[in-house]
Symmetry: C2
Subunit: 337 residues, 2 copies
DNA sequence: TTGTATGCGTTATCAC
DNA sequence: GTGATAACGCATACAA
């Protein structure tokens, strides 16, 4: 396993390491004959330069750390898929870190990424969506931000300016609510999400405002939080339906909860959308695969990632970039409403 | 951005770098007073040692490269989720590489990972599932295998022994076929997958053998290949139903194709499973979220990843490990059959 | 066009 | 306990 180095190549080619390095990076003219000789030896040994050593002198790794909370929710793979494509074009490589929404895991990855000398960071989920994030955890992000550029997706560090790109989730909620209202619904429920989460809070506020603005009653039992999973959607819809006076429509925190809700409604014999209209959020691939197809709101997930990467690149280039980028969500009307 | 080094710490503490290094790794006794002084300075500057330099001398990065074809198919996140949990316990970090099933992307990542000095490699999808993989691409894997341990998940390099862990997909297919047959089906279709893919081929063989063994007719129009997506499932089922004599049941290459197929069947007014039984493969989270719930076969996805990581670890420790690990699939009967 | 020498930030081997 | 100093593998300024 003794890895072969430029010295080995140089010796075998009767040249100096400098020359080998030159053909490796073609950073200076090398006589064709010697270049070929060297290349042949490189090829022969399948020599590949040690990126660690290289980065150590360059002070560049070309790596971007990406923290995301949950790869079982397609939304996130879609986002970092967009980021990855952008990264490739710009010559970066993503270092994907699945935090499982665990703060301590986030912390571990944060230090790991710094030590590994990533040149930038894209942060999704976890603490940047937490409504009561301990100062120490905020500080960690602030600290790393002093060293390398950081871009937050759909999140923030309350009280601290950060570069961030986000969907206008408030507007997204309004779109979906208006759509339901236009269809004659006035008994509308809100399902899923966590009260500890800023994104949930934002949607909930928009939901409440729309209800009040239209002088619709908002029953306590029509607003049920939990988490972001299919199971949760199923559970919450089941609970809602057990009640004497269920809403005629629900908006769900995301597509997964909506899918669970749909299943619960259908399994109780309700017809969708006639007896129960259901809307999701995120427009993941799944939404169009459901039966009936799910009405939802697109966050332009790939674009979210692409933009974040673009901003990060500018930041790395020491360019000035405006702090906040807001993407406009789009209502996708399908069959479930 | 001038990063702070052990020298800076040493200078400020009036000690040598060696001592700083000692408290960093506590590799040798250091007087408590000096240790505290050093630690204070480290804390004060939020100093974090450069992992590149460290790895350069240690010759250890603690990194494992993971190639996977498609993060939009939940199966793969499930697998590397399992691998990740195992990796963490063993002190490794995963370097996730989304190849998008693109051979050239695989090649790029392969060299990138080598250069970055990963200590092992987990390979999924792409060329190791290709029935006609160009020699050059096989050779690439062979080359890297000479340098670092490689574990293939659900794939192989024809003609070359490799460490691999796989599900017995042949058996999985038999399970599902027997299940359908037990339910009285004899007109059974096969939907999705690609003929260029070894896994598809394996399932198809099992399918055909089961059909022949039972003396069932296998119509050409009942076997429709394509890819592994929801859309494909929808399309193939639609085509199948347009035919005069459709099967009464179909087994699909995976859950996604099955979901698409379900949708197509339902949208044509067919009742599932009464008029059309549909089975998937992989037992992704989605399968239980469908309506009706999808009968499928579990590959024990997380375990696949966990095992691969365990084997890799042993290999890295220079332990002998048997080349092939086969996991036994499990039939999950739900409502769609 | 090519070679020599030095530095990148750590760890490790010696001495003291 | 602590401090010089030589690696680690590569890139590059400076010479030649």
């Amino acid at each position: 396993m003794e890895s072969i180095t430029v010295y080995d190549i140089a010796r075998e080619a009767n040249v100096s390491v400098a020359t080998v390095s030159r053909v490796l990076n073609d950073t200076a003219p090398v006589r064709t004959s010697t270049r070929q000789k060297i290349m042949a030896i490189i090829e022969k040994h399948k020599f590949q330069p040690n990126a660690l050593a290289r980065s150590l002198v360059n002070k560049k790794t070309g790596m971007i750390g990406v923290l995301f909370p949950d790869s079982s929710n397609m939304f996130f793979p879609e986002v970092f898929g967009g980021a990855e494509r952008a990264a490739q074009k710009l010559g970066y490589t993503l270092f994907l870190c699945n935090t499982f929404s665990d703060f301590s895991r986030e912390s571990e990855y944060l230090t790991l990424l710094r030590e590994r000398q990533v040149e930038g960071l894209i942060f999704m989920g976890g603490r940047i969506n937490s409504r009561h994030c301990p100062d120490a955890l905020v500080q960690e992000v602030l600290d790393i931000q002093k060293k390398i550029p950081v871009v937050l997706i759909n999140g923030s560090l309350p009280g601290h300016p950060c570069h961030r790109v986000k969907t206008n989730e408030y507007l997204g909620t309004e779109l979906i609510m208006q759509h339901l209202i236009d269809h004659g619904h006035r008994h509308i429920g809100f399902l899923g999400g966590s009260g500890e989460t800023t994104t949930t809070f934002e949607k909930l506020q928009a939901f409440r405002r729309m209800m009040h603005a239209n002088r619709f009653p908002v029953r306590k039992d029509w607003v049920r939080l939990g988490d972001f999973s299919i199971d949760c959607g199923y559970e919450l819809m089941s609970q809602t339906l057990e009640h004497r006076n269920p809403p005629t429509a629900v908006m769900c925190i995301n597509d997964y909860v909506a899918i669970g809700a749909m299943k619960a409604a259908i399994s109780r014999g309700l017809r969708i959308p006639e007896e129960m209209a259901i809307a999701g959020f995120d427009d993941t691939q799944l939404s169009s695969a459901m039966n009936p197809e799910l009405t939802t709101v697109s966050q332009h997930s790939e674009q979210l990632g692409r933009q974040a990467m673009a901003i990060l690149h500018k930041l790395i280039q020491k360019e000035k970039v405006k702090k906040l980028t807001v993407l406009v969500p789009k209502l996708i009307v399908r069959q479930s409403t």
